[in-house]
């Protein structure tokens, strides 16, 4: 990624609190809805999945693809923003 999106910067700028999944970069309305249907309604639940996969990008991308059918750019965006958030706040 050459530059990060506004969504990415907003997410990484502060603790995620009770933000919804759709606040994650790369997760729009469609993917957010799918994730919510599977129980991942908050961003921190997705973060939990990311952490439980030991922040492994490949595995997380696989999981994201299986769960909500994200394409590779969306996977990358989501992964990048979670990773950066972890670097900043964990």
């Amino acid at each position: 990624m050459s530059s990060t999106s506004q969504k990415h910067r907003d997410f990484v700028a502060e603790p995620m609190g009770e933000k919804s999944v759709m606040a994650l970069a790369g997760i729009g309305e469609v993917l957010g809805k799918r994730l919510e249907d599977k129980g991942f309604d908050k961003a921190y639940v997705v973060l939990g999945q990311f952490l439980v996969l030991k922040k492994d990008e490949e595995l997380f991308r696989d999981w994201l693809k299986d769960t909500c059918g994200a394409n590779s750019k969306q996977q990358g965006d989501c992964c990048g923003c979670l990773k950066e958030w972890c670097d900043a706040f964990l």
């Binding site: 439980v52 030991k54 595995l59 999981w63 299986d66």
Partner: protein, 403 residues
């Protein structure tokens, strides 16, 4: 032969898909139903494993693969701990295997197993390829020996052939070698017909691609000078030398060809390239000049004489002080790029920055009175002096008179 325990109908769709792919079965359209996959699975994979004991030669790959498939346990059947251990075997440190992460790890394990299998298959294919190419090489060398023994300039050929095989230091510039290799099949395929044909074809191929033979002829001329020079060094450009020349070139080309074991499939490609080269030749000759003149051999081959005729004057202009060396190879230093080879200077370079002295002078000049004002002043002064002189002359007597 361990058989698959489960009926394929119980397999997941993705499992069926991956198995079909592993058995080189063409997949049905992406949106077809599971039944289609099951059908295909039954048809291709189960059948094969049944027949494999009968015709082992035909379906050898399946018999090799099936044990792998069978011994590979379905990741779905493993317990969490087993799955973790399996992953560890493949060098993956798995995290906690939970309901939400299990699917991911299963997928990972399947991928790892599949990549292992692919590696094995690829290795076998490579071995087959290499042995094939070696055989081809040998047969081609045999062909060369046969074709080399025909024709009337046999001795020359053999001598040269020996030269080629003995001189280990025979190195060709890569750019020439590639293109000449591409041209080989054109002359080579026609050669075995008859001798006259061979001559013609080689001559034709030479005239077709004027650029490539320069490189080859250089090497051939070197060859002659070193070894067989007494035979054909001083031969005037006539039919005899043409024949030997043509044969030596085809010989050379064949030699290279056999060394490289080029597949004959590049035949058409080579011809296409040849025409391309020919087309580009007249346009790009100037640009190529500094490169080509290294291999320029003016007297060694009659072909070069005829081919280079239109270029000769430019060459003389470029290299006025070149003497003919015994090896007929010119070594010239590289020409400067700017305006080289008579090209017009397309880009005017900006003037170099002036030295401090000239800057100073300009500064002084700026403060001086402009030149036309100087001239005017000079004229005015001259007129004034003339008037004074005139006046003085008129009144010259006056003062003296008055005195």
């Amino acid at each position: 032969m361990p058989l698959l325990v489960q009926h394929p109908a119980y397999f997941s769709k993705s499992r069926l898909k991956s198995d079909l792919v592993a058995h080189n079965v063409a997949l049905p359209p992406a949106k077809s139903k599971k039944e289609v996959y099951v059908e295909l699975y039954l048809k291709h994979i189960d059948q094969r494993s049944d027949f494999s004991s009968d015709e082992e030669d035909l379906v050898q790959d399946v018999t090799v693969e099936n044990p792998v498939v069978a011994e590979e346990p379905d990741p779905r059947d493993l317990t969490d701990d087993d799955l973790k251990a399996k992953l560890l075997e493949h060098g993956v440190k798995a995290g906690p295997i939970l309901a939400s992460t299990r699917a991911v790890y299963e997928k990972k394990l399947r991928k790892l197993l599949q990549s292992d299998r692919h590696d094995r298959v690829n290795g076998a294919e490579k071995g087959v390829l290499y042995s094939d190419s070696e055989e081809e090489e040998e047969s081609e060398q045999d062909e060369d020996a046969e074709s080399g023994s025909e024709g009337k300039s046999q001795t020359v050929e053999q001598l040269e052939e020996q030269e080629n095989s003995q001189n280990g230091d025979f190195t060709y510039p890569q750019c020439f070698l590639l293109s000449s290799r591409l041209h080989v099949p054109a002359s080579r395929n026609r050669e075995p017909d008859s001798k006259g044909n061979a001559l013609k074809s080689s001559a034709r191929s030479l005239s077709q691609n004027s650029w490539i033979p320069v490189g080859i002829s250089r090497s051939s001329s070197v060859d002659r000078c070193s070894g067989v020079g007494s035979v054909s060094l001083q031969v005037p450009p006539g039919s005899q030398s043409v024949s030997s020349q043509a044969f030596s070139i085809t010989q050379m080309v064949e030699e290279m060809e056999s060394q490289r074991a080029l597949s004959t499939s590049s035949n058409t490609e080579g011809e296409v390239n040849g025409s391309n080269v020919q087309e580009h030749w007249p346009q790009s000759d100037r640009l190529d000049m500094p490169v080509v003149d290294e291999y320029y051999t003016p007297k060694a081959s009659p072909y070069n004489q005829t081919m280079k005729e239109p270029l000769k004057d430019t060459f003389k202009d470029l290299l006025p002080d070149n003497d003919i060396t015994p090896t007929r190879i010119y070594a010239t230093c590289r020409r400067p790029i700017k305006g080289a080879a008579g090209r017009p200077v397309q880009y005017a370079y900006p003037e170099t920055p002036a030295s401090p002295i000239t800057l100073e002078r300009r500064e002084v000049e700026r403060h001086l009175v402009p030149i036309h004002i100087q001239i005017v002043v000079f004229l005015i002064v001259a007129c004034l002096l003339y008037l004074i002189y005139d006046y003085a002359e008129d009144n010259s007597l006056g003062p003296f008179v008055s005195l």
